[in-house]
């Protein structure tokens, strides 16, 4: 179906729904690279006006990627909850925005709505929302998940320790983990990106973290960010796998380029559940996503990168993860050119994910060939903290020495918590106080020597 909009004496035509969505998207380099972006600011506004008048039901009737060709489309439509959708079924995209912002649409209403939201609906409304709208609605959403800690409670802000090492050296990784714990970080997950995809290396590192966890009774969970098949192999060999990790995307073809499909993710989840390692909940999956991944794999079906990203959250949602994070500036300036585009994308991703009921965190980051620096990330962190982001990354000094990009640091986690009055997950916070790492008022302890320093002394003495 062709969509038309008259603006300023000109009539704009959009040949189909996915073209309309792409033209309505705020400017970003990835859509320009794909040849999908609006050619002028006026064409973008025309597309946004047209989109605002579109009934939400259009997205159920006109799939952007054909049902027959793509298992993600089938998942989205086959699992759509019509009853949850009912309260908004008569709305246009524009009316949906106003309803989301209204006082009466509170956390409870949004939680009940989540299963009725498809990624295309979330993406469409986000395209006509300003950054402040995205923040205001995202803040109202509640998504709470559990394994050994509780993620996503109001007033809480968690962190992943990302202790990567370029040669997977266990002592180097342990050193970075201890540095993180002593800064009060790690309650979302201790997640290592291994330099190699070897099952043996994965098992050794998982055992390292599990030993530390048991010795100091730390309420944390771990994850080794190897390919999902490597983690399944590690489970079969008896490794202590807490969360199974996988990078995912919003189209079947893009997932194929990652070497995964829905059946494999189902298998992985069943394997992780079979270990029964969660103490207070069984959210056993950890996913990462990021705008541009489908285009990068030439698997985007001419759908804009933000809509592709929202579709990845439908994949994530289906497997009831503990954590999902958008890795927002990792892929490079070809997809998000500068700090402004990175910030916008992060807020869109947070909004779409949380609206759909996904436990969203964010790896707020940039590469050294992008037009961004740590000040852009500082600004973004404050926005994320206000908007209800569940967790961010804690990388020593914000410099990942294995993946070679800049993310956020242990110090940055503390900055957000202190400045916005947010605290770590309750189980972990109690442990931090018991260990003398933080004071009951939340500040890092300065007088006591934390007991965890024993572990440091042992590591420094060479017995890792």
């Amino acid at each position: 179906m062709i969509y038309t909009q008259t603006l300023g004496g000109r009539t704009y035509q959009f040949q189909d729904l996915k073209t309309l969505m792409a033209r309505a998207t705020p400017e970003r380099s990835g859509d320009q690279l794909a040849g999908l972006a609006a050619e002028s600011a006026e064409e973008r506004v025309a597309a946004q006006l047209c989109l605002a008048d579109l009934p939400l039901t259009t997205f159920l009737e006109e799939p952007l990627i054909p049902y027959e060709e793509d298992e993600v489309t089938r998942l989205i439509l086959d699992t759509h909850d019509r009853a949850a959708f009912a309260p908004i079924s008569s709305f246009t995209v524009g009316a949906f925005r106003e309803w989301l912002l209204s006082y009466t649409t509170d956390s409870e209403v949004l939680t009940a709505l989540a299963p009725g939201i498809t990624p295309e609906m979330a993406a469409a409304v986000s395209k006509i929302m300003r950054n402040q709208d995205l923040i205001a609605v995202s803040r109202k959403c509640r998504v709470v998940t559990r394994f050994r800690t509780t993620i996503g409670l109001p007033g809480r802000f968690s962190s992943r320790i990302q202790p990567n090492h370029p040669a997977d050296d266990p002592r180097g990784i342990a050193a970075s983990i201890l540095d993180g714990l002593l800064h009060g970080c790690g309650d979302a997950v201790i997640g290592i990106n291994p330099a190699t995809d070897s099952p043996q290396a994965v098992m050794a590192l998982l055992e390292l973290i599990d030993g530390l966890r048991q010795r100091y009774a730390i309420p944390i969970q771990s994850s080794l960010l190897a390919h999902v098949t490597t983690q399944i192999a590690a489970i079969e060999r008896g490794a202590p796998v807490d969360l199974v990790f996988q990078s995912i995307a919003g189209t079947e073809a893009a997932n194929r380029s990652f070497g995964v499909n829905l059946a494999l993710l189902r298998e992985a989840r069943a394997a992780a559940l079979s270990l029964r390692r969660g103490t207070i909940g069984d959210n056993v999956m950890y996913f990462e996503t990021g705008q541009g991944s489908a285009l990068s794999a030439n698997a985007h079906h001419d759908v804009d990168q933000q809509t592709c990203e929202a579709r990845a959250y439908a994949v994530a949602r289906h497997f009831e993860p503990l954590l999902v994070n958008t890795v927002v500036g990792f892929i490079g300036p070809e997809y998000l050119y500068d700090g402004k585009q990175i910030t916008r994308a992060a807020l869109e991703d947070l909004f779409c994910g949380r609206l759909m009921g996904v436990p969203m965190g964010c790896d707020a980051c940039y590469t050294n060939h992008a037009e961004a620096d740590q000040n852009d990330i500082d600004n973004l962190l404050v926005l994320l903290g206000v908007a209800g982001c569940a967790y961010i990354m804690g990388v020593p000094g914000a410099d990942d020495v294995m993946l070679n990009y800049q993310s956020t640091s242990y110090h940055d986690v503390r900055f957000v918590q202190t400045t916005l009055g947010l605290r770590p997950a309750p189980e972990f916070e109690s442990w931090l106080i018991d260990m003398g790492i933080i004071e009951p008022d939340g500040r890092l302890a300065s007088r006591e020597q934390p007991r965890l320093l024993q572990a440091v002394a042992q590591l420094a003495a060479g017995c890792a």
Binding site: A167, R256, G332, D399, R414
Partner: protein, 262 residues
């Protein structure tokens, strides 16, 4: 009692000898002390950004790689220059027309094939390629020739991305392609080299069909460890007739901790 108005050092600084990650930086309140703050912003970030734009000395790398005893060809991707390369990934994954002509002249006769082609590309860090590519490719070529493998000429690519090796492998009729490529510069390491291996290379291969050995530099993997891993993966790829996520490194004994390359 410690004076909270002053920056405090971390009592776990002894751990810094185990990693080049930025641990035990100390703190001022929740934030960084001034020295590491400024080091990050003005020294290291600037250095990493400069490394992205360092011109690639393809002739120098080709001359040094010639010691492997194989012919060395220098070609250009379809990306004309650095700004174009950084803006658009796709031309960096394809060969220029001239490159196709050059490589076609080296296609083996009739139905013959090469067992493998070794490719070197600047990627996002010419610095990494200048420092590590020639000595590493010589190690690898010697090891493969010692196993009786028939190798195609070494191909050096300007403005190349990983997937450019697919077209090179396909034109030269090589059963496998291994590309040594400069990884994007990080703050602490601007000269990290990676190797990507693809069995039956041809345009359209996905990243799930490749194996990667990353972080070859002084703080990461040594040349010897990277070569051993690559030879293992290439031998297994030949046996299993595939590469990528279905090809795992199943060696029980892995290379030891990081050592300086020799």
């Amino acid at each position: 009692m410690i004076d909270e108005s002053l920056p405090s050092a971390d009592p776990w600084q002894a751990l810094r000898r185990y990693t080049n990650a930025r641990i035990a930086l100390g703190r001022a309140g929740d934030s960084l002390p001034t020295a590491p703050l400024l080091a990050f912003q003005y020294d290291d970030h600037a250095r990493a950004r400069d490394a992205v734009h360092l011109p690639f000395d393809a002739e120098g790398v080709a001359a040094a790689a010639g010691a492997a005893g194989l012919p060395v060809l220098i070609v250009h991707s379809a990306a004309p220059d650095r700004p174009a390369y950084l803006k658009r990934p796709d031309p960096g994954r394809r060969l220029s027309d001239n490159a196709r002509t050059v490589l076609s002249a080296h296609t083996p006769p009739d139905d013959e094939t090469y067992d493998a082609v070794l490719v070197i590309a600047d990627g996002l860090s010419a610095l990494a390629v200048h420092r590590h590519a020639a000595p590493l490719v010589i190690h690898i070529a010697e090891a493969l020739q010692g196993l009786g493998w028939r190798l195609a000429p070494i191909v050096v690519v300007r403005q190349g991305r990983v997937a450019v090796a697919d077209e090179i492998g396909s034109l030269l009729r090589a059963r496998q392609a291994a590309i040594l490529i400069g990884e994007r510069p990080g703050l602490s390491v601007a000269d990290s080299l990676g190797i990507y291996l693809t069995y039956d290379p041809r345009p359209g291969r996905t990243d799930a069909e490749r194996n990667c050995i990353s972080n070859i530099h002084v703080y990461g993997q040594s040349y010897a460890a990277a070569t051993q891993t690559l030879i293992y993966l290439m031998s297994e790829a030949r046996r299993l007739k595939l590469s990528g996520v279905a090809l795992k490194d199943e060696r029980a004994e892995r290379a030891g901790p990081a050592t300086l390359p020799t």
